[in-house]
């Protein structure tokens, strides 16, 4: 394999691995901050226990999210030197801002939060986790504005053989980047909501600490309901933005070969990319595709045949990932809605079947998040910056296939090892439940009053 293919594989592997941990951090930081705020307001020790239990899981997850993030920053230069040279003038800025504005805040205050239980006042301690939550979401904003620029480049000119920034505000207000930001962070909140609901369901089924886990479940269910609705609604606008700015990606998402007006939405599709057609197109809902794309049932949807073959993304992975993600998105709204109703009526414990479903639904939002990234990144191919630079022209010229193969194997082994350890620890501490040793907790709680 050549350095290009290996570098692409490596970037896919390392960024997808990184994104196993990020979405939970985005949402769970907010939930833990909310729990601790409840504790500060009510002085109810159950909320302290809750904060510590979910906080521990948060930290086990957070550790890997942080360290695997450094890889991504390094990789732009290591594997994608031509890309970095060509677009660094505009792409480097949001990355540097992300570090300066968000990473410092996140990493400094997480230290205060972990080690500050006996050192600072209760309010200040809760403020620390709120700052971590804000910083984490702020870091998502900057990296997604950067990715949004790769998807829909704005505010630049080609000068001195590279893309130079001429309008910083255009990048900040790039609607593609902003939609992607909201879509992604809300999907992270769904991951966190289902994580908390799933583990709470496990303990409710075992009748451990029912008060604590009912409260956790209820909070997560409402958070999940709002978030899953938001993901879906924003996703709809996001898809329309894709249709407007990335016609090849949109056509691949729905396997549209021929340009058509008033395009129907085919529930059943079997594409035949070799012959540039679909073997099966059935159960079409009239005009729906045109409506989804342009919020106008008569609008024209561009087909892939409008574009030369070397400018089209692979159809099958994009189509399947998009449909999988959308179907899961609908399921999440449903489950979060049912969960909210049952939790608000206080009937969780009398619905073991639903609890079991929620336990097994825990991994699904993770899968949806990965599928979403496949749509975004594979769907952008063959471009690394849509319409500006091709992925094939972006790879480092000085890095040999052997070097990348070695690093890819290294990452696979190291990340495999860390993944196994992390899942083991999450299971161990999730199963164990909250610390019942109240004596130490009360002691710590008093300690905080200093």
């Amino acid at each position: 394999m050549d350095a290009l293919t290996l570098s692409r594989l490596q970037f896919a592997a390392t960024s997808m691995f990184h994104f196993i941990f990020v979405p939970l951090t985005l949402g769970l930081s907010i939930l833990v901050a909310y729990m601790e705020t409840r504790y500060v307001r009510t002085n109810d020790e159950m909320y302290l226990k809750m904060t510590k239990f979910w906080g521990k899981l948060f930290l086990i997850n957070f550790a890997i999210g942080v360290v695997t993030g450094i890889t991504l920053e390094f990789q732009f230069g290591m594997n994608w030197a031509e890309y970095s040279k060509y677009v660094g003038d505009i792409f480097g800025a949001p990355l540097a801002i992300e570090a300066t504005v968000a990473f410092f805040l996140e990493s400094s205050f997480i230290g205060l939060w972990i080690f500050g239980w006996n050192k600072v006042s209760k309010k200040l301690h809760a403020l620390a986790i709120w700052l971590v939550a804000v910083a984490t979401n702020l870091s998502a904003l900057w990296i997604l504005l950067a990715n949004g620029w790769m998807q829909h480049p704005v505010g630049f000119v080609i000068r001195n053989n590279r893309a130079e920034m001429v309008d910083f505000t255009a990048m900040l207000t790039n609607s593609y980047g902003l939609l992607k930001f909201f879509h992604t962070v809300f999907s992270g909140y769904v991951v966190a909501a289902f994580f908390v609901m799933g583990i709470s369901a496990f303990h409710l089924l075992k009748k451990n600490n029912p008060a604590l886990f009912k409260a956790s479940f209820r909070t997560a269910a409402l958070f999940g309901l709002v978030s899953s609705l938001a993901v879906f609604i924003i996703g709809d606008f996001h898809a329309a933005e894709v249709a407007r700015t990335q016609p090849t990606k949109f056509a691949a998402m729905e396997s549209v070969w021929d340009t058509q007006k008033a395009a129907p939405y085919n529930l059943l599709l079997i594409p035949d990319p070799a012959n540039e057609r679909n073997t099966v197109e059935a159960l079409g809902i009239p005009r729906l595709l045109s409506f989804l794309a342009f919020h106008d049932g008569n609008a024209e949807v561009k087909g892939l045949k409008e574009f030369s073959k070397d400018e089209r993304p692979p159809v099958i992975p994009v189509l399947l990932s998009f449909r999988g993600m959308a179907a899961l998105g609908i399921l999440f709204m449903l489950l979060a809605c049912i969960g909210s109703i049952i939790a608000l009526r206080g009937r969780l414990e009398t619905n073991p079947l639903f609890l079991r479903i929620m336990l097994y639904a825990l991994p699904l939002p993770y899968i949806a998040a990965q599928l979403g990234w496949i749509v975004a990144e594979v769907g952008r191919q063959p471009w690394i910056v849509y319409g500006v630079l091709k992925t094939a022209d972006a790879v480092s010229k000085n890095v040999s296939p052997l070097q990348v193969l070695t690093s890819l194997i290294g990452f696979t082994l190291l990340y495999g090892f860390l993944g196994v350890i992390d899942i083991y620890l999450l299971f161990k501490y999730a199963r164990k439940g909250p610390d019942d040793d109240l004596s130490t907790i009360i002691k710590t709680a008093r300690g905080q009053e200093v």
């Binding site: 230069g77 801002i97 000085n398 130490t440």
Partner: protein, 342 residues
């Protein structure tokens, strides 16, 4: 002043602050198994940097990000030319970070041994390789129109290795002083004794480095042209002597601050000599990456200057504030009473 020059200085400051801060984390990680005689001592050692190491590491991410934003060509070539070395650094940093978090999560000796090894590897190897990388940058990389002509092994040349050993000793001394300042009792005493012994090795290596630099690099050319610049290496030497003096009167906090100055000034000794290069070419100076031929547009540099001037002082303020919250030396009780400790 031209924006490229402002950014050259900022670039130097970010790397220097990174080495000054994460330097003691590396030192503490290197000494973790050596100084920690039992589980409580080992926990004291990792917990002494627990609240701050993560915030320290971000200076590296910012240094990398700033290189990307301000000098994209240098970022691209530096990171791709030094591919294998950076990869190993990265693996080290990843292992170190998770080792701190995971070490105490399972109550088993063999589990702890694995993470103790990871703490050492993840501290020693990056410290060494950062030194090797900077040594090679100081003497220039073999690059011309056809790109880069070096390998991982060619980085391990005598000057590169000397710089690597110099960095390791500098950080280990820094870490020993941190532990002497942050821990009490026998452990603190052992760290203090070690810092005294290490100082001689560090001092010898520093002298060798300063002499060898004259033969292996062109760094001193700038100093000869502008005598006042000799203040930078002079401050490095004076603060290194300061370390010795403060240690001998058992003023470990002052010795640690002195060591901070040493590291900062050592990095700036190199940076000052590089100007106007960021990475010189060792075979054809017309292919050197300078702050002018590898920088971003003035528009981007202006925006980034604004961002940095607003936010970096804020970062420094809250990081100092957090350091102050944890300024007291760490005692076993502190760890036992906080169940969230490492």
């Amino acid at each position: 002043m031209e924006y490229q020059i402002i950014w050259f200085i900022l670039w130097g400051v970010l790397w220097a602050v990174y080495f000054m801060l994460d330097g003691f984390d590396f030192g503490v990680g290197i000494l973790h198994n050596l100084l920690g005689k039992n589980e409580m001592e080992k926990r004291l050692i990792v917990n002494s940097i627990g609240p701050v190491w993560d915030g320290n590491e971000v200076w590296l991410i910012t240094a990398g990000g700033a290189t990307f934003a301000a000098f994209p060509t240098t970022y691209a070539l530096m990171f791709s030319y030094l591919y294998s070395a950076l990869l190993i650094i990265l693996f080290g940093l990843i292992l170190r970070g998770v080792a701190f978090e995971f070490r105490g999560k399972v109550d088993s000796n063999s589990w702890k041994k694995v993470w103790d090894a990871a703490v050492f590897f993840g501290s020693f190897v990056p410290a060494l390789l950062f030194g090797v990388a900077f040594g090679n940058i100081f003497q220039g990389l073999p690059m011309d129109a056809d790109g880069y002509h070096g390998t991982l092994l060619s980085l391990l040349n005598p000057y590169g290795l000397l710089t690597g050993i110099f960095f390791v000793l500098m950080f280990t001394e820094h870490g020993a002083l941190w532990l002497a300042m942050k821990t009490t009792g026998e452990l603190g005493e052992r760290a203090a004794v070690l810092s005294r012994k290490l100082w001689f090795a560090l001092c010898t290596t520093a002298v060798l480095f300063l002499i060898y630099t004259n033969f292996a690099t062109r760094l001193y050319a700038n100093y000869v042209g502008n005598i006042i610049l000799f203040a930078v290496p002079a401050l490095a030497v004076i603060s290194l002597l300061g370390v010795k003096i403060f240690v001998s009167v058992k003023q470990y906090t002052k010795a640690f601050y002195s060591s901070c100055v040493t590291i900062f000034m050592v990095v700036f000794t190199g940076i000052t000599g590089l100007y106007p290069d960021l990475i010189p070419s060792s075979i054809d100076s017309s292919y050197s990456l300078t702050i002018f031929n590898s920088s971003s547009s003035i528009y981007t540099l202006k925006i980034m200057t604004g961002v940095v001037l607003v936010f970096v002082p804020v970062v420094i303020a809250y990081q100092i504030w957090i350091y102050r919250i944890f300024r007291q030396s760490l005692k076993p009780d502190d760890i036992v009473n906080n169940k969230e400790s490492y």
